[in-house]
């Protein structure tokens, strides 16, 4: 019985564990890779993991999408959906700005690798 409870605990939290894994993966890409476009993809993974973190606890097993109808009684929580809609759009805005910076850096230094850009500079 004890073992079953623990299994239910681990499986019930699987959304949290995968969210944490995605955050770790995103952070690892941002810190370890010197290629700036890869860094931005890592940043996107970091951002999307937050969508999971927000939307998962709002889901109710047996519920349906929060569109009121006479045929359904149980709805999932609409509030996290609204917050994440905003987050998605802000995420793509930051991605666009980051990519514009990368294009500009490539123009000025001829490289999108952070290491090569730094070794070109005068401050080393």
């Amino acid at each position: 019985m004890e073992g079953l409870n623990e299994l239910a605990f681990v499986l019930g939290g699987v959304n949290h564990w995968i969210t944490v894994f995605l955050i770790m993966a995103g952070l690892y890409i941002i810190v370890s890779r010197s290629n700036m476009i890869k860094k931005l993809v890592g940043l996107s993974i970091f951002q999307t993991s937050v969508y999971l973190l927000y939307v998962s606890p709002g889901k109710i097993i047996g519920g349906t999408a929060p569109i009121i109808s006479d045929d359904f009684a149980v709805y999932s929580n609409p509030l996290p959906h609204v917050l994440i809609l905003t987050a998605i759009v802000v995420g793509v805005a930051t991605l666009a700005l980051g990519l514009a910076l990368v294009v500009r850096i490539n123009e000025a230094y001829g490289s999108i690798e952070e290491d090569e850009v730094y070794s070109d500079g005068d401050w080393n």
């Binding site: 939290g13 993966a25 370890s32 998962s56 709002g58 349906t64 709805y75 996290p80 294009v103 123009e107």
Partner: protein
């Protein structure tokens, strides 16, 4: 069944993430990023967030992929081999992961209905939407009526980012023309 679909999609998502870490060709990374976004959109729909799922499919898998591909067109498509050791980044991300797992320990399990966030403010919106705004889609009524200022702030962010992108890329064509003239 709901739980099983959720589990399988989460495992796919992790597999694609591992592939993104390993691949060095940036085109492959961008395409895998598109697959990642579509999986995330499917997962969001499986979690009843239909509006978010559609936005993620359109913006995450569509617009982001187009932006990344155009950036690749203007720069380079291959990643240079790593010069530094991976020890510090791995240690940092594992440490962050451990702290986060500790933080999620007390969070409600997946699909619970009796948690504070589902019984308090979420239920309130579901009850009030029809009488107060007559909009059946509660996400729309919260987005446009109850939290309209959030959406206004979001628009301000996009506007600022748009101006930033325009200012960064504005001189591009002119500089390229000057280069051409220098050569001729």
């Amino acid at each position: 069944m709901e739980f099983l679909i959720n589990l399988v999609l989460l495992l796919f998502l992790s597999a694609v993430t591992v592939a993104i870490i390993g691949v060095r060709n940036l085109f492959a990374v961008v395409v895998l990023g598109g697959a990642y976004s579509f999986l995330m959109a499917t997962l969001l729909i499986a979690m009843d967030a239909v509006d978010v799922g559609m936005t993620e499919a359109a913006v995450g898998a569509g617009v982001s992929t187009v932006l990344l591909l155009s950036a690749l067109h203007l720069t380079k498509t291959d990643e240079a081999p790593a010069r530094h050791s991976n020890v510090l980044p791995i240690a940092l991300s594992v440490l962050t992961g451990l702290v986060l797992v500790y933080g999620t320990w007390d969070l409600p399990r997946y699909g619970d209905s009796d948690t504070p966030m589902n019984t308090h403010v979420g239920a309130e919106y579901l009850e009030r939407s029809i009488p107060e705004t007559t909009v059946p889609n509660v996400v729309t009524s919260v987005l446009a009526s109850y939290r309209g200022y959030d959406t206004l702030g979001e628009t301000a962010v996009i506007f600022t980012a748009g101006i930033g992108v325009l200012m960064l890329l504005k001189g591009r064509r002119r500089r390229e023309d000057e280069k051409e003239e220098d050569r001729s």
